[in-house]
Symmetry: C2
């Protein structure tokens, strides 16, 4: 009799008191109280309590099965939606037969390995799903801000004939008899797209690092939010742009993901101006205040954490730009400054590097010289180097690691938690 | 004296009559008329004519060099902007030293190979740049529509342990001693994300086909716009959704890319309802009307073109859905219908397949049976198959090839023209 009923979403039921609706979702739990049962159905817009009386009371179902419930929407003070369903029929659409852990508790009590092995199940937990809803909004806001600013979304190849940084950490493959690599970053291509006259570009895509790290902050495949901008006057413009992008991203999740943030108990930091320290200043502070010696011209991960604490204590900021790295510690395309330093920066968020950026060399002669100094064979980079014969403007850019940003924002212990199907040295499935 | 001047964009000059501005861009051309010269500077917002008099007259520059011009904005009836610059200084920022072809003519007179080999240069031509601006808007509109409809943007791995369709056309690589593949599509993962409770998801990402085709419509790496939707009642809902998505995409480029469409002389087709034909109906028409025999249960590319012409003539539509392909011609996850057919569809646009889609099997038993029928080893698909034990709703989806859509819309002869850095059997650079 109800065959023509269209599905009603849980959230919409609040406005349908007195109507007969069909609701579809997953069976979250069933409670029996004498001759009445309460079935909670969960779907993407929320949860709905269904009251089962008479013949339906005592209804039994494996939780996480897909079900369809038809009934009348009635008001109640017992649920957060303000309504429940007086059920007239329940149908099992597809049974769950695999429940390696319980996902309908307040917290999921199992290890990360198990969560990742059973991603389809663990994502059913609303706290875990919230991570991915927020991640989606961060990416949406990134592109929205840049599109509004006149940046063009580009798509560049991930199958390349040369590793971007020329290092050893690249995945190799056979490409119709030629040696190809998976791009470590869209670095060369985003610079080429600036030089092509598009000037201000961004890309959102997968990047690949064949690093044998197995830490809580490394992934072998991750999403890089890349920006490159032509006609800059100074590399500080890039830090200003990144600050504005991040402000917009954080404002957007506050607006769009209030429910998820509340569920996770996360307060989104307010970004005003982001403090800047040169590497040398940071190293001095670490030496004088914390008695820590850092590697030459760099900070190690302990140093990054301590500097973050220092900045948080002295300025209240969760972010800090570390600038002016020495040439030796930056890629060959980095624009030099004085005294062997470069116009470069990293951005730390809660003590973790989430961005590398800087001005790039735009003159052919200077660039080939830099390749020589790094001991790189120019012939391997012919296509990239040729770009600089076409007339390239001063430019620079940066890249944000989306999983790292998400993980740090949400206080996740491991960056894998911000990746639905992470890839690491031991993990290629599911 | 002008060192503190910020860059003014060409377009903004129209509102700055009487002001001294600094403009930066590429030298498009110089004309000398006695003791006065006209220099046209081109950048991302347009072109500006600079008048060079006195000492500056006779100024010589290699076109496509990066230059900076300072001068006073004055009104004129001679340019489309309505202003020109009375130049007080010209500075060369970075010289062009490589001009294999002329990009400042109305059309670029060189072959596709040359255009692709010198992408940075060919993209300077405003018609060529327009392709990529429109492509960016198509993608923007795709995600905007789906986000507005409550779909969640997902990110799934491209490094996988099993080829999505199980075919031979996959790129293989060594992943820390294990055999890995580049994903042919996010098919398995988008289904898993639906099953995870996100229900309605989309992804925009690279996909890889190790096909040895070398045609004008194949790429070995391309951007797939993927959609997957849970709790469908019928697979026709998917075609309705795709129709709405395409309507929105086309409306958005009409709104945002008026300039580019005009430049390319493109009239964007109006989409109303998209006609549907079953494969059998299409084959009948081809046989009776065109005397063409098609392969069993399928159309070949000649048939696709003829059917497109037929539909265009009889209904005015540039699009047509071909539905109900037989099981043998669809992947193992396709939901069967009656008589050996499936709940599947392709979408043809101007005679080219730009989409495959359909309802998927959501029951574990039916799916393993389908794997067996196709002669596939279930063990190789364990992770995917396990998904269907967790309770999966009825669902389906589709994928649009972004380059094919762009190419067909813009009347490009070769899909490579819609890819900045295409990858094919012979091309891995630049």
């Amino acid at each position: 009799m109800y065959t023509n009923l269209k599905r009603t979403l849980a959230k919409e039921c609040a406005k349908k008191v007195g109507e007969t609706v069909k609701v579809q979702g997953w069976a979250k739990k069933v409670r029996h109280l004498g001759n009445i049962s309460f079935l909670v159905i969960r779907e993407r817009t929320g949860e709905l309590q269904c009251v089962l009386e008479g013949e339906l009371a005592g209804f039994s179902i494996e939780t996480e099965s897909v079900i369809e419930v038809i009934g009348e929407v009635v008001s109640t003070k017992q649920t957060s939606l303000g309504v429940e369903l007086l059920t007239s029929s329940v149908k099992v659409i597809n049974k769950n037969t695999l429940l390696p852990f319980e996902v309908n508790k307040k917290e999921v009590n199992t290890g990360l390995e198990n969560l990742l092995n059973h991603r389809v199940l663990s994502l059913r937990h609303e706290k875990i799903a919230s991570i991915f809803k927020i991640k989606a909004t961060l990416e949406e806001a990134f592109r929205e801000y840049l599109t509004n600013m006149g940046f063009i979304r580009i798509f560049t190849p991930k199958l390349v004939s040369q590793g971007a940084e020329g290092g050893a950490n690249v995945f190799k493959l056979d490409y119709f008899g030629k040696e190809a690599f998976l791009a470590q970053s869209p670095q060369f291509y985003k610079q080429m797209m600036v030089a092509s006259g598009l000037e201000c570009v961004f890309e959102i895509g997968s990047v690949y690092r064949a690093e044998e790290h197995n830490s809580s902050r490394h992934l072998n495949e991750y999403i890089s939010l890349d920006v490159e901008m032509g006609f800059i006057e100074d590399f500080t413009e890039l830090m200003e742009l990144e600050t504005d992008v991040l402000k917009y991203m954080f404002a957007k999740i506050k607006e769009k993901n209030e429910t998820e943030l509340k569920l996770l108990g996360i307060e989104v930091p307010t970004i005003t101006d982001i403090p800047k320290l040169t590497v040398d200043e940071a190293r001095e502070i670490l030496k004088n205040r914390y008695k820590k010696d850092m590697p030459e011209g760099d900070l190690n991960s302990e140093g990054e954490k301590l500097i973050a604490n220092y900045i948080k204590e002295t300025t209240g900021s969760e972010f800090v730009f570390i600038t002016m790295y020495p040439k030796e510690n930056r890629p060959m395309y980095t624009m030099p400054s004085e005294n062997g330093l470069t116009k470069s920066f990293d951005l730390l968020f809660k003590g973790l590097e989430i961005t590398s950026g800087g001005e790039r060399i735009h003159e052919y002669e200077m660039l080939t010289q830099s390749f020589k100094e790094k001991g790189l064979n120019e012939e391997h980079f012919e296509n990239y180097l040729n770009t600089f014969k076409y007339g390239v403007p001063p430019h620079g850019g940066f890249a944000i690691g989306l999983e790292r940003l998400t993980a740090k924002l949400l206080g996740l212990m491991n960056v894998r938690e911000a990746n639905a199907f992470p890839r690491d040295i031991h993990r290629l499935t599911p």
